[in-house]
Symmetry: C2
Subunit: 352 residues, 2 copies
DNA sequence: GTTAGCACTCAGGGAGAATGAGTGCTAACA
DNA sequence: TGTTAGCACTCATTCTCCCTGAGTGCTAAC
């Protein structure tokens, strides 16, 4: 059933008041503060309808109304206006990101700080991951006698390395030849291409170094399959600024939940990755009982078509969605650019 | 002034009761529950003395006594007994750490989980850092046309890499020769050795690649100077299990403090690094107003004499110090071993 | 369909009393 | 001289009771 324009206006007024005050809103206040040209009594009638239809809840008989999850959902989908960041907000955000980053880990943790400062909510930043990447390059080098460093680069730009012990009689030349051999055999493959048959061939061709080769191949596979997401959470304490978390039990529940990073990753993984778009999950839409009173707002980023990840915030269901969305969009754009520069070099080309 | 044995026994009884109950302890309870052979009245007198001497505080006239910081300090230094972990505790801790770790970041975050589970307090794990490390090896390799990967290894075992754009006409051979040249010039140097004169020589010898060399040298310097500590904090929500944090303001203060990781690093840096030993800082000894009600217990680890870091917990001043210490010692020993294996290869040799 | 009016509900807050755990002091005891 | 019993006193905590005020639902009139 369609909502009348008047019902929409009233619902919007209630939700926006509630977002601001965190107090149940009553008919009188709506009549006074919003120029709807209606009396409190009329609004009361409409509110009763909205409640019956499921858009509003009542904490108890003599309190005002608060939005239900369905109410928020309708608001977010149909009523909310875009929020435009002020010039100051934009320039302060941009200047806070305009610096040199050296390590991925640092970018991620700093971005999470920036998000949480900009929104006043706990921020989530997912490290970029690649799906089905191919091996671009594997190299080995002797660091000192008996110790070899393996460096693996995937076509998504992921670089990882590991140090391994080898027997002392393996010298530079041997390493170079193994390195060249493996590189020839494996470059361009994805994890799926590592069939037992192919591996057998490799091991046999250099059977005297079988054990060593095996460890190297395992490591390469690990790098290619490195699809597990890792998340950073910053500014978690911000959640305590919201009156819904003054109850220590609620706070404990929230912090225990986000302490376990895999909870957060799982939640992110459940989001449909609408390209370049914002996902909003309200309360129980997150499928986690601990999140029943909080919403998740997430933006997806995508670097050079290969690497992607998500950034977002967790806040009370009663949150200024419009403002959060604008901030996330801006930060997301900057982040994409920063990562592009970091991973694919000094400029912004797509990195193939 | 020396405390009489009787005063010590009473002080110890009070502190241990308080650690258990978090309630101010009264004379009557001490008389009843501890077999000191004294009446409540006598204990009251002694308590009055202990208070006057500064070992005890009184929240208000008609409550029992609670230990002062000085009281805790005395307890930790002189009264506390060692706690022996039970066989089950030991074997469960050890089995939780007995698995393969691949990346340093993973070790650190998992160890922080283990610590917080074992102690029920928020855990801190510092990533290993090296002081004044020397360059063991720098290598470059062409990943694809126009893109070079630089890999730097220090004698502390730190490996870092960065991808850089170069002009397209730089080919394998040129890279190899630059790589070899730089390696020859820089291997064995520490950050202090990068004098302007030496750098000038290098840039002049290969002046046609000046800009590129400069970026590489900067990166190497960054790796050698990589002495900033990074910390992980796990199980922060555990702090909320303690009644002293039922007050939401306290909780907020605590979480805001540890949200800023540099606060925690700073605190760790202020500890004297007593080799292989445990440091305890009680309340305001931490020089941070936000920590005035919490204590820090920290163990230092040390891998191969080069790399070191710290692990520890933050808990209320009223904490089971003895138990925490034993757990940290055990975890610390295991961590040292794990890191040794990871960084210096498959066995535990010292790694020079 | 809208609105004014009225009876009713109920959370929140404050005042006041009861409770009980604890203290300090004094006087008696060993 | 050190120890203890006893007693008056203190004070945070809890409870009860009552009031207030914001809000609702319903009805009757416009």
């Amino acid at each position: 059933m369609e909502l009348s324009e008047r019902k929409k206006a009233i619902l919007q007024a209630i939700i926006e008041d509630y977002i601001q005050t965190a107090e149940p809103v009553g008919s009188r206040n709506i009549a006074k503060n919003h120029d709807l040209g209606l009396s409190a009594a009329t609004i009361r009638n409409e509110m009763a309808d909205l409640e019956e239809m499921g858009y509003l809840d009542k904490p108890h008989t003599s309190a005002g109304r608060i939005p239900s999850e369905m109410g928020y959902r309708f608001y977010v989908d149909s009523l909310m206006h875009r929020y435009s960041l002020t010039m100051e907000e934009i320039s302060s955000l941009q200047s806070s990101m305009d610096r040199k980053y050296s390590q991925l880990e640092n970018v991620v943790s700093e971005i999470s700080d920036i998000i949480s400062k900009a929104t006043n909510y706990p921020a989530i930043v997912e490290l970029p991951t690649a799906q089905k990447s191919r091996l671009r390059s594997v190299k080995m080098m002797l660091i000192e006698e008996g110790s070899v460093l393996i460096v693996v680069v995937t076509d998504a730009g992921v670089v990882r390395n590991r140090q391994m012990k080898v027997s002392a009689d393996i010298d530079y030349e041997i390493i170079d030849s193994i390195s060249e051999f493996l590189s020839g055999q494996l470059t361009g493959l994805s994890a799926d291409d590592f069939t037992p048959a192919r591996l057998m061939l490799i091991y046999e061709a250099m059977s005297q170094y079988g054990d060593f080769l095996k460890t190297v191949v395992e490591f390469v596979l690990e790098c290619l399959g490195n699809t597990q997401s890792r998340v950073y959470i910053g500014g978690a304490s911000n959640i305590l600024n919201n009156p819904e978390f003054e109850n220590i039990e609620r706070a404990r529940e929230f912090f225990s939940f986000i302490d376990r990073k895999e909870n957060v990753s799982n939640m992110l993984n459940l989001l449909e990755t609408a390209e370049e778009n914002i996902s909003i999950k309200i309360g129980s839409e997150n499928n986690a009982p601990e999140m029943r009173d909080t919403s998740l707002v997430v933006a997806s980023y995508n670097v050079g078509g290969k690497l992607h990840g998500k950034i977002g915030i967790i806040g009370p269901k009663r949150m200024n969605y419009a403002r959060v969305i604008s901030s996330l969009e801006l930060i997301n754009a900057n982040l994409t650019e920063i990562l592009g520069r970091m991973i694919y070099g000094k400029d912004d080309t797509d990195g193939n």
